[in-house]
């Protein structure tokens, strides 16, 4: 080990530079490794290690045939893996392959540049998958590393320590940061220039427009924040914190979909929403999810207020915007937790909420007809619902994150075989049972619960708070929310227990040692993340236009951004030009002082040429006044001091000496 370190310190310049560059490339690739196809990650690591060994042992690079063979092989593999060479994922794979293979061909300066530029691209591809603070920090380090390596290749003399190159890279980045900020704030945020490949937006999670059993369970593992809420006052009790999202009313096989009614529009039921009690007012900051859904606390009768984003309410009380939420969206809402909606009497349109896919879940159907015939219940819907909920409570049903894979008859499996499930299993099985009992039922998805953030006081809803519950229709009461999950696991909705994925080794160790510290750490981290999201990731066109408004534009448009940028450019160019002009006329301070002295003498009519050196002036002074004259001696002393300052060894006190001479200038006995 010691020998290796020793060797590392005495590597030849070439080997040291190559190893450093490989290290930086490795750092750029690390976040990608888990996302790339296995063969690609393995190949990238192997090639980098191979190249490092060659550099370490000062061995020659492999021939071009090797490279060509590897290239053909990897392109074939990419084609086989992704079925295409275009698109984002295939592009990233190819890029990583090209970058690592190019390191085997570092012969000329041009090759080095190609490696640098490919690395910049690879850095960008990291952002496809994550734009978190951590990724940003890692890529900042990578950028510094790349700049350091680039600067280092342009220090051709000797073997300067990498520290020097790193210092220069840091200086450049630090001075470049203001330029970055200005461009970031003012560069117009354009819409995508052309159609995006279909895989562009994956990696952004959230609820989906359909619900297949098992899809919300995936979300439970996602700790990212879905929305932040600031209540004007106290938040309502946790059991009422249902944030309504897509309502799924049509069951196709095992998939719940939005209502696809067989009835014409005029026969559809109106929302018929009536609210009671005090309104709860709050502002929501919704994370972008590329869906038009506006999540509100059940139920909001008035349109949520968001700038330039009209919204409308569906018959199922769901609010939607006129376009997908692709940026952070803020809106204020008034909700009432006491409300009733839906028709009071049975209508034909309710038939949509009774449809079941034929032939599925026979055991559930049999159990339903058994219940309907049960004399103790007397066919009363409310009592039948209670009976089913009672079975959920007492029948040994369990709420779990890992219910296993369900087959076709999801309700049968849940009710009779597995008896375990996540909220969507429970809600789906419950809704199917209701419909079998001839009670109109539908599934509502959204978020439920949440928690107060301990640092910044926002009410936070995470993707892991995604929930599915049911609504059943009862004559005379309309649609009523029934959350069967709370029957299985009262803690889920009452005290907001969450099934948490097993934390990692470090996290669990920390949690075990000091749970308070761990929570505090997590809270701070999330607050920082919140700032990051609010300031950086959600900086968009509307924020830009707000900025312009602050700058005094009446009705800013994105062309104004261009004008502001242009004005800044012109201003900085003018400053630069002024500086150049000043620099051109800037004289050596010593020469300036000498010129002032000879100017004084010329003004008195003495024959002093403009370019006379001090000693020549001394001569003139002595000729005019005589060497013994006091004034002549003072002038002579000053002029000779000026001369010796010029020819003194360059040192630290040169400037102070000159300053002293400049101060003395005005007190000298100049001739009148």
């Amino acid at each position: 080990m010691k020998a290796v370190l020793e060797r590392l310190g005495h590597l030849p310049r070439d080997a040291r530079d190559t190893l450093f560059l490989l290290l930086v490339i490795g750092w750029v690739l690390v976040p990608q490794l888990v996302r790339l196809p296995l063969w690609c990650s393995a190949l990238a690591l192997a090639v980098l290690l191979w190249r490092a060994t060659l550099a370490w042992n000062a061995r020659p690079l492999p021939s071009r045939w090797w490279l060509l063979a590897l290239l053909v092989l990897t392109i074939t593999a990419t084609l086989l893996t992704h079925r295409t060479l275009l698109g984002r994922d295939a592009g990233v794979t190819l890029l990583v392959v090209l970058l690592t293979l190019k390191t085997l061909e570092l012969r000329a300066r041009r090759d080095a540049f190609v490696v640098f530029f490919l690395s910049f691209f690879t850095m960008l591809t990291n952002f496809f998958f994550s734009q978190s603070l951590l990724t940003a920090a890692a890529m900042l380090v990578a950028l510094m590393g790349l700049l350091t390596a680039l600067v280092n290749t342009h220090m051709p003399v000797g073997k300067p320590p990498l520290r020097e190159a790193a210092g220069i890279a840091l200086t450049m980045a630090a001075l470049g940061a203001p330029i970055m900020l200005v461009l970031f704030m003012l560069f117009p945020r354009l819409a995508p220039l052309w159609g995006m490949p279909g895989d562009a937006m994956t990696g952004r999670s959230g609820l989906s427009s359909t619900m297949e059993v098992g899809s919300i369970a995936e979300l439970a593992l996602d700790d990212s924040i879905a929305m932040r809420i600031r209540f004007d006052g106290l938040p309502p009790p946790q059991s009422e914190l249902y944030f309504r999202g897509p309502v799924l009313s049509t069951l196709q096989g095992r998939q719940w979909q939005p209502l696809r009614s067989g009835f014409p529009q005029r026969m559809q039921d109106a929302p018929n929403l009536q609210v009671e009690g005090d309104a709860i007012r709050y502002q929501v900051t919704l994370e972008p999810n590329n869906r038009p859904w506006i999540f509100v606390l059940d139920a909001a009768a008035q349109q949520p207020v968001a700038r330039s984003m009209p919204m409308q309410m569906s018959a199922q009380l769901q609010w939607t915007a006129d376009r997908p939420v692709s940026d952070l969206l803020r809106y204020s809402v008034q909700s009432h937790t006491r409300f009733r909606h839906g028709p009071l009497r049975r209508t034909a349109a309710l038939q949509d909420y009774l449809d079941l896919p034929p032939g599925l879940n026979p055991r559930t159907m049999a159990w339903a007809s058994e219940l309907r015939r049960d004399p103790a219940l007397g066919g009363d819907p409310a009592r039948m619902i209670d009976a089913v909920l009672q079975r959920l409570r007492t029948g040994g049903y369990q709420y779990t994150l890992e219910p296993g894979v369900y087959g076709q008859n999801t309700a049968d499996e849940f009710w009779f075989d597995r008896r375990t499930g996540f909220c969507e299993h429970i809600a789906s099985a419950f809704a199917i049972m209701m419909r079998s009992l001839d009670i109109p039922a539908r599934i509502v998805t959204g978020y439920q619960g949440g928690e107060t953030h301990s640092v910044d006081g926002f009410w936070i809803l995470r993707q892991s708070d995604a929930h599915a519950w049911t609504e059943v229709w009862l004559a005379g009461r309309g649609w009523i929310r029934v959350d069967p999950t709370s029957a299985v696991s009262p803690g889920r909705t009452g005290s907001l227990q969450r099934l948490r994925p097993v934390p990692g080794a470090v996290a669990s160790a920390l949690q075990a040692v000091n749970p308070q510290f761990w929570l505090g750490l997590r809270a701070t981290w999330e607050a920082v993340n919140n700032r990051w999201n609010q300031w950086i990731l959600n900086y968009n066109q509307s924020t830009q236009l707000d900025l312009l408004k602050h700058l005094g534009f009446e009705s800013p448009s994105w062309e104004d951004l261009g004008y502001v940028l242009l004005a800044l450019l012109v201003a900085s160019s003018l400053v630069g030009a002024a500086w150049t002009l000043w620099d051109r006329h800037r004289q050596d301070p010593w020469l300036r002082l000498l010129a002032r002295a000879s100017q004084k003498l010329r003004a008195a009519g003495w024959p002093v040429a403009p370019a006379s050196p001090p000693r020549r002036i001394v001569q003139t002074v002595r000729e005019r006044w005589g060497a013994a004259d006091v004034r002549a001696q003072a002038l002579t002393r000053w002029l000779l001091a000026l001369e010796s300052q010029r020819y003194a060894r360059p040192g630290a006190d040169g400037a102070t000496q000159l300053a002293r001479l400049r101060r003395e200038f005005s007190q000298l006995p100049w001739p009148k």
Partner: protein, 341 residues
């Protein structure tokens, strides 16, 4: 001295012709000076090919950021662009404010490599990295770093094409530090001239026969070396004191030496008219040049052998002598010989 090389033919090589003309014009605009302070006015900057590649990279990064709506992508692109912009200023600043000072130049031979020593003086606190110099039409860069508030000496090789007091051809200093995306350079014409001796012929014929001293050589009888005096002659520098006829000096105030058989040796004269190259003495052009180059080789040879020798170039005559100073005088005469006369 004819400096101008002919331009390439304007019709056959129009581009090269224009380039050469432009270059000549550019150089003629430069004031020759031995100390040049590099300022905004004489430092030029243009992007390099990698610089254009970086610009293309930035553009692609920007398009990717727009298309995928990546705010971090924007940050990366703009930080990189900002750093490159700062790099441009650093690159320009590496040369700006630097002072180039030509150190005294040693004379050299035509066609042989000579070195120019140039001091790069920096008054700035920051180190100036990666500065390269070469002759403007040379190909070999010499690299150096200039320490903070210090100086670095660069030795640039050049091959003078003409003999005589030749102006030092234009030099160029360049840097691509720190990112290699911009090339910053300057062109410098030193005011000094360098003395260039003719190229010594590589395989000269043997030295010409010495010839007896003029005047007495014809009558002098060759005897065996006996140490006896044969007569007197005018004093020559280097005659031993015991040979001086002191009585004569006292009477006539004239230095007379006794002439011995040894002293009556042959004198070696290197004469332009007797180099064995026809038409050299009167002519100019290649014949004269090759004759001068033979004479140069002879001068060096004779000096190496420690012989006394004289040099006759047309009307110009350097009396026989030896030693480093004499050799230089002869070489200078050869370098400056204009022909004709």
């Amino acid at each position: 001295m004819a400096l101008a090389q002919p331009f390439p033919h304007p019709l056959r090589h129009p581009v090269r012709h224009l380039q050469a003309r432009f270059r000549r014009w550019l150089q003629s605009r430069l004031t020759p000076r031995d100390v040049m302070l590099l300022t905004q006015r004489n430092v030029y900057i243009l992007p390099t090919r990698p610089g254009l590649m970086l610009a293309a990279t930035l553009l692609v990064l920007l398009v990717a950021s727009i298309n995928y709506q990546l705010n971090l992508g924007y940050l990366l692109t703009f930080l990189l662009a900002g750093s490159a912009l700062v790099g441009m200023h650093l690159c320009h600043g590496t040369l700006r404010g630097l002072s180039l000072q030509l150190l005294p130049v040693e004379p050299g031979f035509q066609g042989a490599s000579n070195t120019l020593a140039v001091d790069l003086v920096s008054t700035r606190k920051r180190v100036r990295y990666g500065i390269a110099m070469r002759m403007l039409d040379g190909s070999q860069w010499v690299w150096t770093d200039v320490p903070s508030q210090g100086r670095a000496t660069i030795h640039v090789a050049f091959k003078p094409a003409q003999r005589g007091m030749v102006p030092i051809p234009a030099m160029t200093a360049e840097t691509r530090f720190p990112l290699g995306t911009f090339r910053v350079w300057t062109v410098w014409r030193p005011a000094s001239r360098v003395l260039v001796y003719p190229a010594p012929e590589s395989h000269p014929p043997t030295l010409p026969e010495g010839r007896p001293i003029a005047g007495c050589a014809a009558q002098a009888q060759v005897r065996q070396a006996s140490g006896e005096f044969d007569g007197v002659r005018a004093y020559q520098r280097g005659d031993p004191l015991k040979l001086v006829v002191w009585k004569k000096l006292a009477k006539a105030d004239e230095m007379i030496s006794r002439d011995t058989h040894q002293a009556q040796r042959h004198e070696l004269w290197l004469d332009l008219a007797e180099t064995g190259i026809p038409a050299a003495a009167s002519g100019v052009g290649p014949a004269l040049e090759s004759a001068l180059s033979r004479l140069c080789a002879w001068v060096l040879l004779a000096d190496r052998m420690g012989l006394d020798f004289g040099l006759r170039l047309g009307g110009q005559e350097i009396r026989p002598a030896s030693g480093e100073a004499h050799k230089r005088r002869c070489l200078e005469a050869l370098a400056g010989y204009e022909g004709g006369a």
